[in-house]
């Protein structure tokens, strides 16, 4: 492969074309079947849209489905590195899968661009020069929710999240920015679908507001049951329970709920407007934050390809680190640990015609990095 690449590069240089136009192979492992498939499909579609729009024919993308299972993700990663010989990897949605794949991939010299998962273990001591996160560090949106709860003047919030590492991180993230009291704190079972018991405890606790992190189907169930209970206290949460893919399934129960996100379809910049329009034209649905993350990931990669050759790893990493691409989020840059420094917004769920969606109502945290960056020795 190396000889072939070298030969190709020499041939291209001899032809007098830019030596940068070297083919690059991307391995995308993401969740395309099972319960969490909506997220992976959005990341893939966003990524492929950016590739298509660039018209860049030097990029080849191999896509595989991890079924949300760590063992399958590891097998696929081995296959991509050993037999497909990819240069760059991306696509993983879930933090537990990310922890199974990313450390070994980066140790084998592959560049990894994370379009979603941002476990704290990879942001602090475990940071790596080959690992770039284009979405957020896991705590970020929860910290923003805590900041928002404080600025709204909530004094007695009830908080709940599933009992697994990302859930515990979520509660920690919220508490780090929240200044009021907690009227209760619950860790629920992962994958739980009935929240009657938790809702009864919220009612009995005398809380003035509720914070929850329940991604995917768990959030749909909670919101429907919460609305039906008639408690009516204000709710805040991270964007994961309010993204475009699941809002239609929640329906009226989500109307008016405040949620925090690094992206929204109404962020006012030309890139975002064009992205929302072209995504809708291409796939016939509104993009979600996952789609925007996939789109940004591909554009980051394309920007680096225009500046450096993948065979020169040092230069390619430097080109990625510059983050010289036009993000759908507006300002975007990397911190020392290759995680984003960005604004995090507060959005409100509204109804546009028949479609439930979000609009920005404020900024929760400006130019926000993450607390683990200090532990990273890069």
């Amino acid at each position: 492969m190396k000889i072939k690449t070298l030969a190709l590069a020499t041939a291209l240089a001899a032809l007098g074309t830019a030596g940068l136009a070297e083919p690059l192979k991307v391995g995308m492992i993401t969740t395309l079947s099972g319960g969490g498939a909506g997220l992976g499909i959005d990341v893939r579609d966003g990524f492929m849209l950016a590739v298509k729009q660039s018209g860049n024919t030097d990029i080849e993308v191999v896509i595989e489905d991890d079924q949300r299972k760590p063992d399958i993700a590891v097998q696929l990663a081995d296959k991509m590195i050993q037999s497909e010989k990819v240069d760059v990897m991306t696509g993983i949605i879930w933090s537990n899968l990310a922890m199974a794949v990313i450390p070994s991939a980066t140790a084998q010299g592959k560049i990894y661009l994370s379009p979603n998962a941002g476990p704290s273990a990879l942001a602090g001591k475990g940071c790596h020069e080959n690992y770039f996160n284009v979405a957020w560090q896991n705590d970020n949106l929860h910290e923003a929710a805590g900041a928002h709860a404080t600025s709204e003047g909530y004094k007695n919030t009830f908080i709940l999240a599933p009992n697994y590492p990302a859930g515990v991180d979520a509660l920690t993230g919220f508490k780090s920015q929240y200044k009021g009291e907690l009227s209760g704190e619950l860790l629920t079972k992962l994958g739980q679908t009935d929240y009657a018991s938790e809702i009864a405890q919220i009612r009995a606790s005398g809380a003035d507001s509720v914070f929850f992190f329940l991604p995917g189907g768990m959030g749909i169930s909670f919101l429907k049951q919460y609305a039906d209970s008639g408690i009516g206290l204000p709710v805040v949460g991270p964007a994961f329970s309010f993204d475009q893919g699941i809002l239609q399934a929640v329906g009226d129960a989500a109307l008016g709920v405040r949620n925090t996100s690094q992206w929204s379809k109404d962020i006012d910049n030309a890139t975002n407007k064009a992205f929302v329009e072209s995504f809708q034209a291409e796939y016939g649905r509104l993009p979600s934050l996952y789609a925007s993350q996939g789109f940004d990931t591909a554009n980051l990669l394309l920007s680096a390809m225009g500046k450096a050759s993948i065979s020169d790893a040092e230069a390619f990493r430097a080109a990625l680190k510059e983050a010289d691409f036009s993000s759908t989020r507006g300002d975007f840059k990397f911190g020392n640990n290759n995680h984003p420094i960005q604004d995090i917004y507060v959005r409100e769920v509204i109804k546009e015609g028949d479609v439930f969606t979000n609009k920005i109502v404020g900024v929760a945290l400006e130019d926000h990095g993450d607390v683990y960056a200090a532990e990273c020795k890069m």
Binding site: L32, S33, G34, G35, A37, G38, I41, N163, E185, L186, L187, T188, K189, G191, T193, D194, A196, S197, E198, A200, Q201, R203, A204, G216, G217, M218, I220, S221, K224, Q225, D228, S229, G230, G245, I246, Q248, A249, V250, G251, D252, A253
Partner: protein, 306 residues
Amino acid sequence: MSLILLAEQVLNGLQFGIMLFLMAAGLTLVFGVMGLINLAHGSLFMIGAFAAAAVAGATGSFLLALIAALAAAAAAGALVEVLVIRRLYARDHLDQVLATFALILIFSESTRWLFGSFPLFLNIPETLSGPVTLPGGIQYSLYRLTLIAIGLAVAFGLFLLISRTRLGIRIRAGESDREMIAALGVDISKLYTIVFALGAALAGLAGALVGAIQSVQVGMGEPVLILAFVVIVIGGIGSIKGALVGAILVGLTDTLGKLLLPLFFGLFMDNASATSTGSALASMSIYILMAIVLVMKPSGLYGARA
């Protein structure tokens, strides 16, 4: 902790148990009468929910949606019995587990192919939404009360069906000796199709009823399936009464465990570790219950065979 909270949680446990019963009743009938382990029972639950969501979306009527859920799940059940399950009665349990596991994958991926990967919308009908105030000042969801009523009505109906009708006599006879009733001239393969479709319809009904307060998505049936197996093991395989008692026991244990265990550990631990220890133990509570029942009564509470 107030008495009102406790009363509300008991209702929650009851409602959860009754929904489990609808799943477990079909499973225990199929297991008891036909001797078949059907892992695809959770897929029938999912089919019910998807059929209800599709019909409710098209017509806006929740009643029509429930009828559609019953019909779709029963039809899917009958079809599966005729095409696949019928070939498995003579095989051992491992073959049955393999074949019905394959059915789960087939059902899940075809549902995704038909409806897409994103969850569907199915909501509580307008007339049943919101809370009502019960005697004693308990605020409780009207829809959940309705679920309890529907579940109890189905349980009573099943009891009448099994004990008072000709079909029920045949089902009980098939359970004790299938060769003998075949020799007496009962069309056993038709009987099996009916039993399987009946179990499927109950699972479909549970899927539609629960789908309205949870999320209608691919793979929603499997977590419930595991609980339903716990219920029939506790109640005794093949016993409808056992399924009802087991389901309510599991429902109450799970709900009250989640409430009381963290409080209990809070008596002698700090708040954060009490929450995590209590939550961890609460998720184990129903399996501990199952273990205790199996030690005391190895064939389950109402199990006929050892």
